[in-house]
Symmetry: C2
Subunit: 214 residues, 2 copies
């Protein structure tokens, strides 16, 4: 029943097909609901086969997290057209938050959940996190360029980068975990409080703050 005629099909790289199936389930039903057994059923293999290609579930979590970073970098690619460093910094924040809003499950896996970081601890004990470092480097470079343009005088580049990341992550994660929703009514003096508009406005407040450091 399916377990027979699968062999005829291209079995090119089973590891890739497993990840593909995992991604499909993950996007549709979230991480928790993406069980090893369901992944196995999706590709019509026995559950234990998964373990021949991935050590355990956190291994798959990390692979999905990498997938998410590919997607994020794709979005960040639009920044290449923004010459002015301060405009680039602002656009970066907006794209980051946009990504969080559009792909909350991926965002969760990349920046909220502990599983992928746990994988790192066991497989790259030297505290390496290539995906995160790469994006953070881009942020550092942009902040550095802003400094060259007279922004952030007397401030440490890394500290400004960390703070900026924390701002957009704080906003994004409180939105995703729906913590914002429950205090949104206190935040909008007028009319209905569109969630995403609130994020935008809070971010603009941050932009106002750093704009004056010029």
């Amino acid at each position: 029943m399916g377990i027979k005629e699968r062999k005829e099909r291209h079995k090119e790289d089973l590891k890739a097909r497993i990840l593909e199936a995992a991604k499909k389930l993950f996007v549709k039903e979230g991480y928790e609901a993406t069980s090893i057994r369901k992944i196995a059923a999706e590709i019509e293999f026995s559950p234990t086969t998964i373990y021949l290609y991935y050590k355990d579930k956190t291994d798959i979590a990390y692979a999905l997290h990498q997938e998410g970073f590919r997607l994020l970098r794709e979005q960040l690619g639009a920044l290449a057209h923004v010459a002015d460093p301060f405009e680039r910094l602002k656009a970066m924040g907006r794209i980051y938050m946009q990504f969080a809003v559009n792909h909350p499950d991926f965002y969760e896996l990349m920046f909220i959940m502990k599983d992928p970081m746990q994988y790192l601890k066991e497989h790259h004990p030297e505290e390496e996190w290539p995906e995160g470092e790469r994006v953070f480097d881009g942020l550092m470079q942009t902040v550095s360029a802003c400094k060259s343009g007279g922004y952030f005088p007397g401030m440490d580049t890394a500290e400004v980068a960390m703070l900026s990341w924390s701002v957009v992550h704080g906003l994004s994660s409180l939105y995703i975990t729906s913590h914002f929703k429950h205090i949104a009514d206190k935040c909008s003096s007028y009319a209905l409080p569109d969630q995403e508009a609130l994020l935008e406005r809070a971010f603009n407040t941050y932009v106002q703050l750093i704009q004056r450091m010029h």
Copy 2:
């Protein structure tokens, strides 16, 4: 075998004893490892008894989250002695982050995990979150007092409050989920990067920004 002589002991309020046991396990082993069965074993009752006092596990999660808020408000009590609103705002941020560092499991339950918010959606559909609102109100009042003192001219109180919360939450949560750890080496130009010191420095950068809005 224990199931006999328990009745002699004070059974005052079993619901409270369940929560007590849950809290003990939770503090020692974290949320995931705190299973209904373990809680039941701890108080020497059958697992199903738990369900006579708590609807399901997210119900217990919410109770623990409330416990965490009691603890946080206790820490925030020290703010009563800080008269100057801007100093109070700074102290508030530091106490908040200190709480996250000292009680990461509670912090996770209160501000990172979805379970307690899920409970809210089912039991208080009117978007109420008393614990969160209470703390956020305190923040709003402090920001408002700062405005009266000339800070944040022309800025919206709620937006500044949201941003400030996002800053300390962003820093705290990235620290707890150990995302910071993996880019810490890029942040400290010199010597070993004490994690908590990094948080402090990034927060100070934020303070620098808002200090100039005066």
